[in-house]
């Protein structure tokens, strides 16, 4: 398995191409074929004996030579470093990235297709699709005319920041683009994996049951926005919207909720406005950075002229 992605080596595919790492990445294969370790645990006379470095700092011979090594590292530190690089990249290019998470069948892809249609041709955007298998979702997005890239995670249950970084390399997006990342349909694992996005958006459909925020609290805790989808079906269901929102706010008091229907179009204006606001903010930060850099260059040039 690839320890960089945490996914099955050779299973992660970007646009059907096997995901291969460049040199410098450590690989550990689950079957042990290319992973070799020395199992020689005998005395190594080329290394000094650190009697005083044992856990008890014992200086007497015969006591354990084991020593304590402080690590204090976040288990997801590697993913978080990749996420930070992605976030930096989004920031520099004024791109607004959202990580869309939900259970399978919540209507994510349909909602995305409708979102892209409403944003129109003038909005620069791309979709990164994560699924274990198939190109179906990317094909549906491409049918709208938008740029889409499919990541197949193989046995992996979530996208991680490293995979998204590779996808960004491939996409080479325009400045100020909207980046919609549709995660693997799973309300559990994607909660823990930061991809470098500005916000996680959790999509819950009213056909799923109003207690999902309590059953899968991690995801609702990690999200900043909840889209309550398929509300056109409410007349046919016993779904208590107020109770669902109360449960969601128990887990995450700051969660913003927008009720939408990709089919009837209800609530989509508010969702589109939320996206546009995010895009404007991301662009403003880029322009501020550019303006600050230009000013700095002008100052340096002025200094050069006077000296």
């Amino acid at each position: 398995m690839c320890t960089v992605c945490g996914c099955g080596q050779g299973e992660t595919k970007i646009e059907g191409q096997t995901h291969v790492h460049g040199s410098g990445h450590a690989h550990t294969h689950a079957d042990g074929t290319t992973h070799s370790h020395s199992h020689n645990h005998e005395h190594h006379h080329d290394r000094p004996h650190h009697y005083g470095l044992g856990p008890a700092h014992a200086h007497a011979p015969g006591l354990s030579q084991a020593r304590m090594v402080r690590i204090e590292q976040d288990i997801l530190g590697q993913n978080n470093r990749h996420a930070a690089a992605n976030r930096q990249r989004f920031r520099e290019h004024g791109q607004f990235a959202v990580n869309l998470v939900s259970s399978p069948g919540s209507g994510k892809t349909t909602l995305l297709v409708e979102t892209i249609r409403r944003l129109g041709d003038t909005t620069p955007l791309a979709v990164i699709e994560g699924d274990q298998q198939t190109q179906f979702d990317a094909d549906r997005i491409r049918a709208t005319g938008a740029i889409a890239l499919q990541i197949n995670t193989g046995k992996g249950c979530h996208l991680d920041a490293h995979m998204v970084g590779h996808a960004l390399d491939t996409l080479d997006l325009a400045d100020d683009s909207l980046v919609l990342i549709e995660n693997v349909g799973n309300l559990v694992c994607p909660a823990a994996f930061d991809l470098g996005e500005a916000h996680k958006v959790v999509i819950l459909s009213v056909t799923e049951g109003e207690d999902k925020p309590l059953k899968y609290p991690d995801m609702f805790h990690a999200a900043d926005l909840m889209l309550l989808n398929k509300i056109d079906l409410l007349p046919h269901l016993r779904f208590d919207v107020a109770r669902c929102m109360e449960y969601a706010h128990r887990v995450n008091p700051n969660l913003v909720v927008i009720q939408v229907s990709a089919t009837s179009g209800e609530g989509l204006d508010a969702w589109i406005a939320w996206l546009r606001h995010g895009m404007e903010h991301a662009q403003a930060i880029r322009l501020e950075t550019v303006a600050a850099l230009k000013q700095r260059v002008a100052e340096l040039e002025a200094q050069l002229r006077t000296t």
Binding site: T28, H35, Q73, L76, V188, C189, P213, P217, H249, R250
Partner: protein, 113 residues
């Protein structure tokens, strides 16, 4: 959750430390896992057993140190113990309680030769 990915990340951290510090064999790995982190301790143990096989940590004992969940009750304006993300404040019974601790997943230290 995704304990297999976590186990692989743990091995990567252990192997990185071994490379840096010239460790031959790891005999114990201590992990700090918060009760609100979503990690299933027994599943993580099983995954570590699989992932450590054939590595320098093959025989390592795994110790899981539980970090108790903590939160800030907005009503009481005080820190309280939390057993789950959606629990009400144990003092006043109200929501919401903002999580302040217990979501940690860290490799604390190793015992190695």
């Amino acid at each position: 959750m995704h304990e297999m990915s976590l186990a692989e990340n743990i091995l990567q951290i252990v192997e990185g430390a071994a490379l840096d510090q010239g460790l031959q064999r790891v005999t114990e790995v201590r992990l700090e896992i918060g009760t609100l982190s979503g990690v299933e301790p027994e599943a993580l143990r099983l995954c570590l057993e699989i992932v450590f096989k054939g590595s320098l940590a093959e025989e390592a004992r795994v110790e899981l140190i539980e970090i108790v969940g903590k939160g800030w009750c907005l009503s009481c304006q005080t820190e309280v113990t939390l057993h789950a993300l959606y629990d009400p404040c144990p003092q006043c019974g109200k929501y919401p309680v903002q999580v302040t601790g217990g979501s940690e997943m860290r490799v604390k230290d190793l015992l190695a030769e």
